[in-house]
């Protein structure tokens, strides 16, 4: 506990780095995952390929994934770049799967009526599918964010910074105080993200059956 207080500035800096790693990778995961989920809902034949490959990524141990990506040309050049890419890959599965489930879960009569009223496929997407699927999509983003905050601590192993710095340092020094200086802020961050995203999710779900 003492360490946490005496190193306030370093804690704040690493927390900032951690937030940045998680924030950017989640942006990427959502930017890629939601369209992939929509594509999946439109072309179910792709289900095995897309869900299968995102599933496989999830099964690769995170430390190994960081290591495996290291030799890649542009990506391996900077540790934070590599870490963000790997974290985004990890976050992809919950986002893609929930987007798919959210859209395909819309009741058949609602969809049929929408098409019969003459909505174009773009209008169907923006006016019906995305609004109705949004609580489910957000639930996926929430799960992904919480996972990413945890996994991002491992990014320190390849020198990408973040709260993992303290954890790895603490392990090397056999000093629980230092480990906790990384673990406690990371845990708080995860709880806070979970709480906030959960709040938005409830707000979105309120208007629906």
């Amino acid at each position: 506990m003492n360490f946490l207080l005496t190193h306030k500035h370093e804690v704040a800096m690493l927390t900032g780095e951690h937030l940045w790693l998680v924030g950017i990778s989640m942006l990427l995961a959502v930017a890629a995952g939601v369209p992939l989920g929509i594509l999946l809902a439109r072309k179910p034949k792709l289900k095995t390929i897309i869900l299968g490959s995102t599933n496989i990524i999830q099964t690769v141990p995170s430390l190994a994934l960081f290591g495996l990506l290291l030799p890649l040309p542009w990506l391996g050049a900077r540790a934070d770049r590599l870490a963000i890419f790997a974290l985004a890959l990890y976050a992809l599965l919950p986002v893609v799967r929930n987007t798919y489930v959210g859209i395909t879960g819309i009741s058949a009569p609602v969809r049929e009526a929408a098409v019969a009223m003459g909505l174009t496929s773009g209008q169907l997407l923006w006016q019906v599918e995305l609004p109705l699927a949004s609580p489910v999509i957000l639930a996926g983003i929430r799960v992904a964010t919480v996972i990413t905050i945890g996994v991002a601590t491992i990014a320190a192993a390849i020198g990408a910074g973040g709260l993992g710095e303290f954890i790895f340092r603490g392990i090397a020094m056999v000093d629980n105080g230092v480990i906790l200086a990384g673990a406690i802020p990371a845990a708080l961050m995860a709880l806070l993200a979970d709480f906030m995203l959960g709040g938005i999710e409830k707000l979105l779900a309120r208007r629906q059956y």
């Binding site: 009741s107 003459g118 006016q127």
Partner: protein, 255 residues
């Protein structure tokens, strides 16, 4: 020629097959006159709903032609075609995240009507289906009863003043009293509006009450078309069977 001029919808030798090869409709010919209410009566699986969905291109026929306003449904831009055809189904399919007002305003908005005109029209059409605007407009579908939802569905179908209305057992899921009420109101409404209506039902009573003509379907084919009066005295076996069931039910009640 004259008769042709009056048909709003025409089926010419229409066949509909599933990708698996199963034939759902075969050699179907049918003319729906402008302004009439045509009932498609038949058992489950006779092809009534398939027929209906061919008219607004929710399905596309495998062979033959479906003419809407003298133009093949395949030549129509499907979006334009659908915006000119009202559609009401048993499960209603209101948008749960839209208020009643927004649900009813849907097609006029898509058609980019002037906002004032939309507001007037929504109010008018809600009154038409027996839901005075101020009480219901701001509610969400999950705050309505089944009968009210069906009325909103009807209002949505009528909102953009389509000349054609397709209805697929719209009152089938309602309790008998509400159903009878809505049926009577719909009949009055239809007398006033004079739309071309194609109405799917498996209820003979409903067909006799609401239809100008009743098209009897069986196993993907058009069996016979009667007026309600003709239907009651038909020599067609299936029609006789329906009439018998209808009369038996009536007698059971009386005794």
């Amino acid at each position: 020629m004259n008769d042709n001029f009056h048909s709003a919808i025409e089926f010419r030798g229409v066949e509909y097959r599933l990708p698996t090869g199963k034939v759902l409709l075969s050699r179907l010919d049918l003319r729906v006159r402008r302004g009439e209410t045509l009932m498609l009566l038949g058992r489950s699986g006779s092809g009534k709903t398939t027929c209906l969905k061919l008219i607004n291109r929710l399905l596309a026929q495998s062979a033959g032609d479906v003419l809407v306003e003298n133009r093949s449904s395949l030549e129509w831009d499907p979006i334009r075609l659908r915006r000119g055809i009202g559609y009401a189904i048993q499960d209603v399919g209101l948008f749960p995240h839209y208020t009643v007002w927004d649900n009813v305003a849907l097609v006029p908005r898509l058609e980019k009507w002037d906002p004032r005109r939309i507001a007037d029209r929504v109010e008018e059409v809600l009154k038409l289906v027996g839901l005075p605007g101020s009480d219901f407009a701001e509610r969400y579908p999950n705050e309505l009863s089944g009968g009210q939802r069906q009325r909103v569905g009807l209002a949505r179908a009528l909102a953009a003043e389509p000349p054609i209305l397709l209805m697929d057992e719209p009152f089938g899921a309602l309790d008998p009293i509400t159903r009878a009420e809505i049926q009577v109101e719909f009949k009055k409404l239809q007398e006033k509006l004079g739309k071309t209506v194609v109405f799917v039902t498996h209820d003979v009573g409903e067909a006799l009450m609401l239809g100008d003509r009743i098209a009897l379907m069986e196993a993907g084919q058009m069996r016979k078309i009667h007026t309600p009066e003709e239907f009651l005295h038909s020599t067609d076996e299936l029609a006789q069977e329906y009439v018998k069931v209808y009369r038996t039910a009536g007698e059971l009640i009386r005794n």
